[in-house]
Amino acid sequence: MNESEIREKIECYARFPERGKLRILTDTTEFMEVKAGDVLELAGCCYLVRGEEMEGRFGLDGEPKYWVKRAIDLSNGTSKVLKLVFHESFIMNLGEQRIRCFRSPQKEARVLDKTRNDPRFMKGFNVLDSAGNLVRIIDKIKGAPFLEYINSLTMDHETYFFKHFPKIFDQVFSCIEAIDRLHRMEELHGDIRNDHILLDRDTGLYTWIDFDYTYEWFESPFGVDLFGLGNILLLSTGKGFHNVPDLAACGPIGMKMKACLTPEDLSLFFSHRVINLQKMFPYIPDSLNNVLLHFSQGARIFYETAEELLNDLKACKTDLPY
């Protein structure tokens, strides 16, 4: 496309067309310099950059992720997320455990390729820019993060558990099956969080996003992902997390509940988080509660694979109020 054709496409697809001089870039090495209004020409396609995606956690609200650009594909007007090459290594907290984490563009590109035909993973493709940087071009998913969805439910827990939870459980089960499939392909998700599942408005599916975290070699290769899956199960079963200090603030009933809890009922990784939800909600079946207890301080054995977790969750299905 020449500049006038690009301007024409921008007029057609962008709500606020660019008035000034257009910058058309083919090299994304200096990603900080790629600004809203620039056009990136990658593998013969043009993308109008609209800005950066924002970091949404760990006290970094509002911090732009300069290597992740929101963009419009000027060939058809669809929204894309362009992930540019950025390597970093940092210490991450998994609850109270610290772990060195690496950001790896090539790992995410590989996962995108391997999960191309699975709708439970975000969709995208990989191209090289003119300097050989591996750019991931990802379809923007319209839909709320799982965490936001669960937090938006306003009914009491009992109503939630009997009317809504079985359907949510089925979707979460499917998400775990997807992760099991990924592990069988010798890949990790690497950053399983409650806001890294989006409820895709178009397909109705729960969809995994963001695969660029990786780690050094561990004896148990899937431990980090299993930690994340445990959190998702706990959030969905409890309709949110339940912490001991919150119970203490709930008056006499909360205090009575708190008195019933032992350290073995609490999370292995978040020492104030209740894992033994059956003590709070007695209608939660033993089978499901026992799965949750594998993530508690009282656990004697841990899940080592998603398959083991799935096998136990399958057995829970007959006990749920479908």
Binding site: S104, W217, E219, G223, F227
Partner: protein, 150 residues
């Protein structure tokens, strides 16, 4: 009959304790064949994209490991184990496999009667996230004895 014993050690000083224990237990055993095994895991291209950097990292680890194994062999000799009964083996892995699996495979392929491992004393949280070589070996080992040295 020759008695073969496989001692799996890593770069920690702690694993030398396992070596000392083996030496003290077996120095009076004239025919025991002791193999000291270490596994070096090459960093993944995902965590270290530069190939040259990966190679030099492995080389650095190899030198450090060799020095440690020579120290371990000296400690064995000091307890009275004959040099001809000590074998050193370094295995370099280029893809992510379980160290416990490698040790167990080595035991099966070479017919070791005993595996000796040190225990690093990981926390429950660490065991959940990262796993434990000694726990896996204790659980999965077949047709051999396992010594876990604390």
């Amino acid at each position: 009959m020759e008695t073969k014993l496989l001692v799996a050690i890593d770069l920690s000083e702690n694993s030398l304790k396992a070596v000392d224990y083996v030496g003290n237990m077996l120095s009076c055993h004239g025919t025991v064949q002791i193999t000291l095994l270490t596994v070096i895991k090459e960093p993944s291209p995902d965590t270290m994209p530069d190939e040259e950097q990966r190679k030099s990292q492995v080389e650095a680890w190899r030198s450090k490991t060799l020095a440690l194994m020579e120290r371990a062999a000296e400690r064995l000799k000091a307890t009275g184990v004959s040099e001809k009964h000590i074998r050193l083996k370094i295995q370099i892995c280029t893809r992510p496999v379980s160290v416990a699996e490698l040790i167990l495979r080595e035991q099966q392929n070479e017919g070791y009667g005993t595996i000796v491992v040190g225990r690093r004393g990981v926390t429950k949280r660490e065991e959940f996230l990262f796993g434990s070589v000694s726990s896996t070996i204790v659980r999965e080992a077949r047709h051999c004895t396992v010594w876990v040295v604390e």
